[in-house]
């Protein structure tokens, strides 16, 4: 039974909800096997991720429509994802390396950015950091593409040190300048997004970065930031926070950074964090809006209208591919704001209402008739809290009960 609770947590938190029968299937496999399949799907013949943006017409002059379609497709792919941990991590990196699709032009480069994050999602952090540094969208967003020998631009250098590697208090203003200089000269071709290093724009003079001398290019910059112990500590801390919650017990992962820094392989870290979570070491936290919506959709709910979805993500404060600033999305607690609460309630109502229409694949009355089964369906294995149970019993099975369930506090805390 303990393991059942752990698996329920795993599916809610990392898997963003359950498809029908999935929790039973997991229970049959056992926690160890489920974690293995999540962490190493290649080893278990799990189908590969397909590019969710593949069939979008990027030449559409209505770029806003291209973006909106991209968001819908990305969410659809998350709902159907055969590799939920990789989807979780893809989204995690889009927050960690926050690039705003409101700034990047052309806007559809964000699709390539997401695909890049996906290709490294559970791979090697050192490779990911290097790839992101010269990713066209990142070069645009943090001005790496206009950072030149003649006119260094500190934007990327600073955020790379503060947000992507060693973190605040572990670098100086001189380090910012050194990192900026060593990364000068990268250019993005506006038409096709091709990236190359232009020697005449690159400052090859040796810099001292984080105490490492002779830093002069991309590879030596990467080597310097990866050599600093704070980088592994920071990445592990971010990962542990995402998986185990904000107030997780740091002693549980104290040994992880040293091992991580030897290879930068993410899988061992993730495996360990999932094991800790399944064993009951996760701290309850707020399910973020994207995860909440995907969770709802996994009930084979009719999808939200585009306008409703746009309003939901905007009011909730988490538009995929559009973090509000370079720091990424707000911490989970922010999604208990009045604005986010309205967003969830209204989308819950809309989803239930849509699902209740004639041509829907599922019948809300049948789905909500047995509240214990409904709770199970969400992975709430102990059933709804008494107050929620009582309130739902007071509503007839159907659209209203489904809406209230989706809007319940029980769903938003995992």
């Amino acid at each position: 039974m303990e393991e059942h609770i752990g698996l329920a947590w795993l599916g809610r938190k990392i898997g963003w909800g359950f498809t029908d029968g999935q929790l039973d299937e997991w229970a049959g496999l056992g926690a160890a096997a489920v974690i293995e399949r999540l962490v190493d799907p290649d080893e278990h013949g799990v189908p590969a991720r397909t590019d969710p943006f593949a069939d979008i017409d990027r030449t559409d002059e209505q770029q806003a429509r291209v973006v909106a379609t991209g968001i819908v497709r990305w969410i659809d792919a998350a709902v159907e994802s055969p590799r939920p941990l990789e989807t979780f991590m893809e989204f995690f990196w889009s927050d960690y390396f926050a690039v705003s699709g409101r700034v990047v032009r052309p806007r559809h480069w964000m699709f390539d950015h997401m695909n890049l994050l996906a290709s490294h999602a559970t791979g090697n952090f050192a490779e990911l950091l290097r790839a992101v540094t010269i990713d066209p969208s990142m070069l645009r967003f943090l001005d790496g593409g206009t950072n030149t020998k003649e006119n260094p631009n500190e934007n990327f250098g600073r955020e790379m040190l503060e947000l992507y590697s060693v973190g605040v208090d572990n670098f100086t203003e001189d380090d910012v300048k050194a990192a900026a200089r060593a990364l000068t000269g990268w250019r993005v071709h506006s038409r096709d997004g091709a990236v190359r290093l232009v020697a005449s724009r690159h400052d090859n003079s040796p810099q001292t970065l984080l105490g490492v001398e002779g830093v002069h290019d991309l590879d030596t910059t990467m080597a310097a930031v990866l050599a600093h112990p704070a980088t592994a500590e920071r990445v592990v801390h971010k990962l542990a926070t995402a998986v185990l919650g904000q107030e997780y017990d740091v002693d549980l992962v104290a040994d992880l950074p040293t091992a991580f820094a030897e290879t930068w392989e993410l899988k061992p870290v993730l495996r360990r964090l999932l094991e800790l979570g399944v064993a009951g070491h996760a701290v309850p936290s707020v399910l973020e809006p994207v995860a909440w919506y995907v969770t709802a959709r996994k009930l084979r709910m009719t999808q939200a209208g585009r306008e409703q979805l746009r309003e939901f993500f905007t009011l909730a404060g988490q538009v995929p591919m559009q973090p509000p600033n370079v720091g990424g999305f707000p911490p989970p607690d922010a999604y208990l704001s009045t604005s986010a609460t309205i967003a969830r309630f209204n989308l819950a109502a809309h989803l239930a209402d849509q699902t209740g229409r004639n041509n829907s694949r599922i019948d809300p009355a049948a789905l909500t008739n047995d509240l214990d089964l409904l709770a199970q369906r969400f992975g709430i294995v102990d059933g709804f809290r008494p107050a929620t149970q009582q309130a739902l019993e007071n509503l007839r099975p159907g659209v209203d009960r489904l809406a209230a369930t989706l809007a319940s506090p029980d769903l938003v805390v995992v």
């Binding site: 943090l142 600073r158 404060g317 607690d333 029980d410």
Partner: protein
């Protein structure tokens, strides 16, 4: 469909009687609500903080006459011929700030050059935390406005006393409470399926006042939201907000935030703190168009706001404080932009300002590591603004650690 407040309250009265409402104190009828509105109008003062997130470039906002300015910024210095002149002001004014002219002429605009908190650094997040908590270098979890709100909590709860517009803010976060967050008045409503308030009541009934931890907070979120929605929709329903949103300059739909600010103040909902966050001031490249559009958004927003409040009689009791986490590097960076700097530029706006003035002087010949120095502690502005809101010495010490007297820009 909009929630019908009366049917909803009629229904929730029954829920309240059954005890499921917990500690929720909803006004029982429209008369009580309007009596509450009358009490809170007229006398209550409202502070509107506008936070230019990302670090607004001070030197291209109010341009100093020093020739060093043009030396430091060979390509992004604003052309002399584009600059506006405000009577008696020894700075050139960014052309996008034209709508602030009348506020300046009316003696309602004070600018402070060199604002910040010592040690705030050049990181957005460290500097923002320093400004918002007013406790630089400390891991504070409450903001300066949040602490003031809790220190002066009235006996009868005012649900809309603090409102964050655009995004939530640490500044208005207390040790316990958080501000109501609103994106737009239009979107601030609950739409249950087919308008059926039974669903709203059911979700309300899921709240258990004994709830603790994150689940406790999650349960408290919906009652707080319902209360805020009811009051806001009831009280601002009749406020006529101009709907002349200019798509060209409306960078992220943020004009709606100023319109919401106006509606909330004119609706007399008891709001004392309104915190408006505008993103996008981090102009490392292509600064001219980006900063221009944003400054115009803010200037027009403030000018329209005070014009409307003047007409409705609310202006005398409204003060705007415009802040930004830092100013930008004095020298341009070669990407037609500027990197993170230190000392910044803040404004106090509105009839409570004693006279238009600019204080603090950017010394381009005496930079700190290439940046303007911090010469005016942000907490002296906070002290000033809180006293205008009625804070005593004791409250000031409570909120800001000590008194930060010195500024005399406001009629207290």
């Amino acid at each position: 469909m909009t929630m019908n407040r009366r049917t909803f309250l009629g229904l929730s009265g029954g829920v309240a009687a059954s005890g499921l409402f917990g500690g929720l104190a909803l006004p029982r009828n429209a008369a009580a609500l309007h009596s509450f509105a009358r009490q809170s109008s007229g006398t209550a003062r409202t502070l509107v903080v506008v936070d230019l997130q990302g670090g607004n470039d001070a030197l291209n906002t109010f341009v100093p006459q020093s020739g060093l300015y043009r030396d430091l910024r060979p390509t992004i210095a604003l052309p002399e011929s584009d600059l506006l002149t405000f009577a008696g002001l020894e700075y050139g004014v960014h052309p996008s700030l034209a709508s602030l002219q009348s506020l300046w002429d009316n003696g309602q605009l004070a600018a402070l050059y060199g604002t910040g908190l010592q040690g705030q650094g050049r990181s957005h997040f460290v500097a923002q935390d320093a400004w918002r908590t007013a406790r630089p270098g400390e891991p504070a979890r409450s903001g300066w406005l949040g602490r003031w709100l809790e220190a002066t909590e009235p006996d009868e709860e005012v649900p809309l006393r603090a409102i964050a517009l655009g995004q939530s803010t640490l500044a208005a976060q207390g040790e316990q409470g958080r501000p109501v967050a609103i994106q737009s008045v239009e979107g601030f409503r609950l739409n249950p399926p087919r308008g059926n308030d039974d669903v709203t009541a059911a979700v309300l009934a899921m709240s258990d006042p004994a709830g603790r931890g994150v689940m406790g907070e999650a349960m408290a979120a919906f009652p707080q939201t319902v209360e805020a929605v009811i009051q806001l929709q009831e009280l601002v329903a009749d406020v006529d907000v101009s709907d002349n949103v200019d798509q060209e300059i409306d960078v992220d739909g943020d004009q709606a935030l100023f319109q919401a600010t106006q509606a909330i103040i004119q609706g007399n909902v008891g709001a004392q703190i309104l915190y408006v966050t505008i993103n996008g001031f981090d102009t490392h490249s292509g600064q001219a168009s980006q900063q221009g559009a944003l400054l115009q958004l803010v200037a027009d927003g403030l000018a329209d706001l005070f014009a409307a409040l003047e007409t409705s009689g609310h202006a005398e009791n409204t003060l705007a404080l415009v802040v930004s986490e830092f100013g930008r590097r004095a020298a341009e960076n070669g990407s037609l932009g500027t990197d993170h700097g230190h000392g910044g530029l803040s404004f106090l706006v509105g009839p409570p300002v004693a006279q238009s003035a600019i204080i603090g002087e950017p010394d381009l010949g005496d930079l700190a590591d290439g940046d303007l120095r911090i010469t005016i502690d942000a907490r002296s502005m906070y002290d000033h603004a809180l006293r205008w809101l009625g804070a005593s010495d004791e409250i000031i010490v409570d909120v800001l650690g000590q008194e930060w007297k010195g500024l005399q820009l406001l009629r207290l």
